[in-house]
Subunit: 293 residues, 2 copies
């Protein structure tokens, strides 16, 4: 059931992304839209936009109203991957089994395609929308830009860069993770609530859920780097240890990590108590914790 609805969300988000990532007219600059679509359409579970749409739904909002915000968030996630893969950053040749953006379009175009998607997120979120009044749009843009900015995701990328080749404490690792991957997941919950004009209590509960599943997912990801199956995991096993990276297992041990993932997943599900129809979100938490497929 969780897979089925996730697939539905995935399909509608991808159709909307295709519509948004189009030039107004052909001025000889259309290659950048091709490059942006290449990465935006390169797969992925679309967890972030799914959180936007589902939290909008469980708060009684109109999913269609939230779609531009869901796509804006996914555009920001995509741009961050394009820039992260650049030779001067992680220098990755493959992402989800496909050549990275700069391998296909060259470095200069990859920088611009990333910039373009970051910018397009705000074009999409601010575009005239009869279903979202301006005060809701501004509130959403504020939440989105704060989550993705230098005190949010970009700040996390900086911490990650500065943590290379040195060991960090558990507290430092938590701060890094809460910004680098946590901020956009939390933004998914926030944007869904904003679009539905949810109560403060609902928004707080949604954000707690997103923070818990984000942390559980990160710990699980670190564990898979040690005990996973490279084919399923999608990247080589053992790369963290090889790179001397501090991870949850290296700091806490595998047994403690397993307990923490369980505990966080339970807490995430408990946070959903104020939403009547929360079965999908509960199943999603379990899925991300690796307990169901």
């Amino acid at each position: 059931m969780v897979e089925q609805r996730l697939n539905q969300y995935c399909e509608s988000v991808e159709a909307a992304l295709m519509k948004y990532i189009q030039p107004e007219r052909d001025l000889g600059h259309t290659k950048i839209f091709e490059a942006a679509r290449y990465s935006a359409m390169a797969g992925g579970k679309r967890i972030r936009p799914a959180l936007v749409l589902e939290f909008c739904r469980v708060c009684g909002g109109d999913i269609e109203a939230a779609m531009p915000l869901a796509c804006a968030l996914e555009m920001i996630h995509t741009y961050s991957l394009i820039h992260d893969d650049l030779p001067c950053m992680d220098d990755d040749d493959l992402r989800r089994g496909k050549p990275t953006n700069h391998k296909v379009y060259g470095e200069a175009m990859a920088v611009l395609a990333g910039d373009g998607l970051l910018n397009l997120a705000f074009e999409t979120a601010s575009a005239h929308n009869p279903k979202l009044p301006p005060e809701v749009q501004v509130q959403a843009i504020r939440a989105l830009s704060r989550a993705s900015g230098m005190d949010g995701m970009i700040g996390g990328q900086v911490l990650d860069m500065e943590a290379e080749n040195r060991s960090i404490t558990l507290e430092e690792l938590q701060t890094l993770q809460s910004l680098k991957t946590g901020a956009l997941l939390k933004a998914g919950a926030s944007l869904g609530c904003i679009a539905a004009r949810a109560t403060k209590e609902q928004r707080r509960a949604a954000e707690t859920y997103a923070q818990k599943i984000g942390l559980a997912f990160q710990i699980r990801d670190d564990m898979l780097d040690i005990e996973g199956d490279a084919a399923v995991f999608g990247k080589p096993i053992g790369s963290d240890a090889e790179n001397g990276k501090s991870t949850y297992p290296s700091l806490l041990g595998m047994e403690k990590c397993r307990e923490l993932v369980d505990q966080l997943t339970q807490e995430a599900i408990q946070a959903l108590a104020c939403f009547e129809d929360h079965e999908f979100l509960a199943e999603l938490a379990k899925m991300l914790a690796g307990r169901i497929k």
Copy 2:
């Protein structure tokens, strides 16, 4: 008189930029703010934010209300310079006589500082502002994001990249210039009018003015690359011809260029007729055309 007011605008914009480009708290990620400030404070005439503030003023608006929009526009201009200077783009070591961002902070940090400034522009424009109602903020964010996006400035950067090492037509050069440098100048006029809640007629006139001075400035810039003084110009003379770039002088000849700059400056000044107090803007047009200091 034009210099004096430009300096005043410059000072207040720089004070505001310093205030905006600050971390909320120190999480170990403050280096990126230092990198962002390095480029944002590296000088420049601040023409774009001055257009925002002055058009807001001549349309009867509150300059303070327009300040976040003026700074957002300058942040976008600054990020575009940081990314343009990267080794995979123009590979420049110096900008306005100072080492470029990546020369000081490294390529990875320069990519992130650029991303951070682009993002901060939208954080700044969407921040709670008692002087700008949400519907005005959304309208401003829409104008700003469209101007700087893939159908605006970024599209112009793509055209510029694709024009390398081949000759282009006058029409192609005009499209390229109207996007790459014209879009943000026009946005300066638009944002000032939006902040002041100007009439449609005022906004159209302001945008016409900005487009004319933008084109005149670009032609003048191309001319200076042929007949200028490297010390005053701030970059080596003759680099366009050396790089085989199509420019206004190479396509039209110097005499025709001189005439065009005069004509465009006249037309820009004529477009100001609907604004009572337009002396500064008229002088600014003449200054940019190189007719007064």
